[in-house]
């Protein structure tokens, strides 16, 4: 990665909890999300789906729908094929997903038709009248089902539902021995991102091109997908990406944007599709995972080997899920030094919702298994689980994954700090248990971000940065960086994003990359502007506004520069590139369990992340604590429930519970480790996912500590914990 030349001491603005850019609009209702935009003469779209997981589409009869005044079209695969000559397929990894179901519906929720009508009511009502004749086909929606010898194949032209294998090994696990071997199987169910903003899409003809509005994390990737399926030059595809109302990975990649684009071009009018929450549940989810792990430890507490097989159940189309499997699993051994390790992961297709990125990107699943197994190893050795972890933890510079970036932090500091926060060595109150777990995730493996900085004639500045600000506060820290480098008040900086026709290219907003990659681009551009300013002003040594007066004189104008941050692909690396940095987190909890109900009360939740350097400490805390609470959601509450036909039965907010203000730990103790050792501005690292990674493992360890029961299938819902307690008591 091209970094910044030389470490400079952060200015006084860095680390400060400056006011959130865009904050005021968020508390007045003025901030506009995609569904808040309306275009003149727009049509409303409603999707038509089938009540089965897998079906052959025999015929689609639009007669009754089209008979309703105000219905403009019932759009199907035939319309796409008529427009494009064939069914275009797209996806971030494989071009496998059709614009709309063609021939087969491959999962519950797969749209087979889309109605466009003059009003939203009419679209919804008339969509129910579309008659789809179909033949229900056998479906697979479990790991075992998808792997069975006689399993129906999800994608045509394949011989197995295993899409890909991801194998990594070092040392010789097959020959390795240990004085204690702990072997278990763990299960992590399907959960969903549940952004409070349901996905929304608008498309409109735009001269000789197309304009699309989407609550998308990767507007430039979407632009590329649209250009390809529509056979348009990139310059004729304009993606507007207003700030997403929460994304969590679920809004990384194209979903129905190609569909609404084809509809808008056919109808010659703007079309809008705003999903219901139920529809988002069948649009995005996390992979279900089953992990078998064998952990070899010697009696003195040194790790000998670890052997992992992880099966990730992805959906009917790959989306980014196979990458989730590869990137999530390769670092599955955690932040430890293992003499020998083997990780074998598989992405397995099924007739289910295409799974995609979700905060943690495949790591929370494998962490659940590996950290739980390490706790079990400690208990069986009679060792303190904290001590066992510290004994094997990678130190700065250790190549703990031999082919990847070396340990880039003082991780032991975080572990000791979390132990201190939870009071690990203090006596436990009656009935309480404690658990600790560590999490690690690889940051981005490739990256390319450009930022344009314009210093205007009154010493205010514009930053153009294509990062999607979906709640993490990216624009705020870019304003801080620019203001700090230019020496102007942060209130005089505006940050522009969300329009591919205006803002320069950014590869993506994911993997907690933006502080580092876009941050480096913003700082680089700002420093170049500053250098030009000083040269034009004939020297430094005056306040910035005075320099601007001298430099721009009576003509006015501006000084601008483009900054670039690049991390190139490494073709010989198993992941296509090494980690730009690691997100490291240590989490510890103290809880009690109601043995009558199985209900868990978390009394204390401590989380410590190695963030390198906080650019905005308040935002860091918000991200860290938010990730921790989101982790408690999948730990204690969340899971999809399927019926025998592969339909999800708990769609929506009533039957799928996420944490509320009544489900919080009584105390949340969060802290950071800041040694300025990251590759981003002033030594920053990315940090938005770490605190989610080890939550389930820490909570399960504490439940075990409090009650003696071991739960290896998430969630640790009252029901599951209650059953485990009954089993413990021989009932």
């Amino acid at each position: 990665m091209n970094g910044l030349d030389g470490v400079r001491a952060p200015g006084p603005l860095i680390g400060q909890p400056v006011a959130r850019v865009g904050g005021e609009g968020r508390v007045t209702g003025a901030n506009e999300y995609v569904a808040d935009f309306h275009l003149p003469d727009e049509l409303h779209v409603k999707l038509v789906t089938l009540p089965v997981a897998h079906a052959r589409i025999i015929a689609i009869d639009p007669t009754a729908t089209l008979a309703m005044p105000g219905v403009r079209c019932v759009f199907t695969a035939a319309d796409v094929i008529a427009a494009a000559g064939e069914m275009p397929r797209f996806g971030p990894q494989f071009n496998d997903r059709p614009v709309i179901a063609t021939g087969e519906a491959k999962y519950f929720g797969d749209p087979v038709a889309a109605v466009a009508a003059e009003t939203r009511d009419l679209a919804e009502e008339s969509a129910r009248l579309v008659r789809v004749e179909y033949e229900q086909l056998p479906a697979v929606f479990t790991i075992a089902g998808a792997l069975a010898d006689d399993a129906p194949l999800v994608q045509e032209g394949t011989k197995t539902n295993v899409l890909r294998h991801h194998d990594i090994a070092w040392g010789e696990v097959a020959k390795a021995t240990a004085e204690l071997v702990v072997e278990n199987t763990y299960h992590f169910p399907m959960v969903t991102q549940f952004a409070i903003e349901p996905h929304a899409f608008i498309a409109a003809p735009d001269g000789d091109g197309i304009a699309v509005w989407s609550s998308i994390q990767h507007p430039y990737w979407l632009q590329r997908i649209l250009a390809r399926v529509l056979r348009l030059p990139l310059a004729k595809v304009r993606v507007h990406a207003p700030d997403p109302g929460g994304a969590f990975g679920g809004k990384q990649h194209a979903k129905y944007e190609p569909l609404v684009a084809f509809m808008a071009l056919k109808l010659g009018r703007p079309v809008r599709l705003v999903l219901s929450l139920e529809e988002t549940f069948v649009a995005v989810r996390r992979t279900e995972t089953e992990i078998r792990v064998r952990t070899g430890v010697n009696n003195d507490g040194t790790f000998a080997f670890q052997d992992i097989d992880a099966d990730y159940l992805i959906g009917a189309y790959a989306d980014i899920a196979d990458r989730v499997v590869g990137k999530g699993s390769y670092i599955g051994n955690g932040p430890y030094n293992w003499p020998a390790a083997r990780i074998s992961a598989r992405s397995i297709l099924s007739h289910t919702v295409p799974s995609t990125a979700f905060r943690g990107f495949g790591n929370p699943q494998i962490n659940w298994a590996v950290e739980s197994n390490i706790t079990e190893a400690a208990l069986r050795l009679g060792m303190d689980p904290l001590e066992l972890r510290l004994r094997n933890l990678a130190s700065f510079g250790d190549k703990f994954v031999p082919f990847d970036t070396a340990c880039d932090g003082q991780w032991g500091q975080a572990v000791r700090r979390v132990a201190e926060l939870i009071g690990w060595d203090s006596p436990k109150p009656e009935g309480r248990g404690r658990g600790i777990a560590l999490g690690i995730k690889s940051g981005p493996t490739t990256g390319l971000s450009y930022a344009l900085v314009r210093l205007l004639a009154d010493a205010s500045a514009l930053v153009y940065a294509g990062t999607s600000d979906m709640g993490q506060g990216a624009r705020t820290i870019f304003a801080q960086m620019c203001a700090s480098e230019l020496g102007i008040p942060v209130e005089r900086v505006s940050v522009v994003s969300g329009d591919t026709a205006v803002v320069p290219y950014d590869q993506q907003t994911s993997a907690s990359r933006s502080t580092v990659l876009m941050g480096n681009a913003v700082v680089t551009a700002s420093r170049q502007v500053r250098e030009k300013l000083v040269a034009l002003a004939g020297g430094d040594g005056a306040p910035t506004d005075e320099l601007v007066r001298r430099a721009l004189g009576r003509m006015g104008g501006e000084i601008s520069a483009m900054g670039e941050a690049r991390k190139d692909a490494q073709p010989d690396h198993p992941l296509g590139g090494s980690a730009a940095f690691f997100e490291f987190n240590a989490t510890a909890v103290e809880l009690s369990v109601d043995v009558e109900t199985g209900d868990i009360t978390v009394h204390k939740h401590a989380t410590v992340s190695d963030v390198g350097r906080s650019i905005n400490r308040l935002q860091v805390t918000m991200q860290d604590e938010g990730a921790a609470i989101m982790g408690l959601g999948h730990t204690i509450m969340e899971h999809y429930i399927f019926d025998a036909d592969g339909r999800i039965r708990n769609l929506g907010a009533i039957d799928y519970r996420i944490p509320t203000s009544m489900d919080l730990p009584e105390e949340m103790l969060s802290d950071t480790i800041e040694n300025g050792d990251g590759p981003g501005p002033y030594g920053a690292k990315g940090m938005s996912e770490g605190a989610l990674l080890p939550v389930a493992s820490a909570v399960a360890a504490a439940v075990r500590d409090a009650t003696g029961v071991v739960v290896r299938d998430l969630p640790l819902s009252p029901e599951n914990v209650w059953h485990a307690l009954r089993q413990r008591d021989g009932q």
């Binding site: 904050g23 968020r26 007045t28 409070i196 903003e197 700030d243 918000m622 604590e625 944490p659």
Partner: protein, 178 residues
């Protein structure tokens, strides 16, 4: 079938026509163009569409527009005392770090505002319970609770000062308590 509705919206009388089956949420967003109130679950669970109707807050997705006829409706757009100024609660949300993506925030603010109206000195439990119907997936819950607490404390502080000085003055634009 459409029907004519008269109501007071954020202090202003409004008259409009609405489909009789449309909810108050539909009317606010689609007929009146006030998009600050958000749509998510449509079953009264997430709280993103929370508005004030007469003397209580409601999930506007569960209330027919017709039910608001003749009523007094306050939405997030009506919380600020005047354009360009924020209410103490709105300021507290920003200062405490209660706002991330922001999508749930209009509903959280309406629920927080209701807590401040119902309790002179709300306890932490009062606040947590008062916010229980408002989901935040960014999970800024601690910060939201702190913001409501801060606004309540700021108000108490302000009242003390009013009594002491016996001079009426404007509420400060920012809550500085804590």
């Amino acid at each position: 079938m459409t029907m004519r509705i008269n109501l007071t919206l954020n202090g202003r009388p409004r008259t409009f026509s609405v489909q009789e089956h449309h909810t108050l949420l539909d009317a606010l967003r689609d007929d009146l163009g006030l998009t600050g109130t958000k749509e998510c679950c449509l079953v009264g669970e997430c709280g993103a569409c929370t508005v004030r109707l007469n003397d209580r807050i409601v999930d506007s997705c569960l209330v027919l527009a017709a039910e608001a006829d003749g009523g007094d409706v306050v939405t997030v757009e009506g919380l600020a005392p005047e354009p360009g100024r924020l209410s103490p609660l709105q300021s507290a949300f920003l200062e405490k770090g209660a706002v991330q993506c922001g999508f749930c925030i209009p509903g959280q603010l309406m629920a927080g505002d209701d807590i401040l109206r119902r309790y002179e000195h709300p306890t932490r439990h009062d606040i947590e319970e008062g916010l229980a119907g408002n989901l935040c997936r960014c999970a800024c819950y601690y910060q939201i609770v702190e913001a409501v607490e801060a606004a309540a404390h700021g108000r108490a502080h302000e009242e003390t000062q009013l009594v002491e000085s016996a001079v009426v003055r404007e509420m400060p634009p920012h809550v500085v308590d804590q």
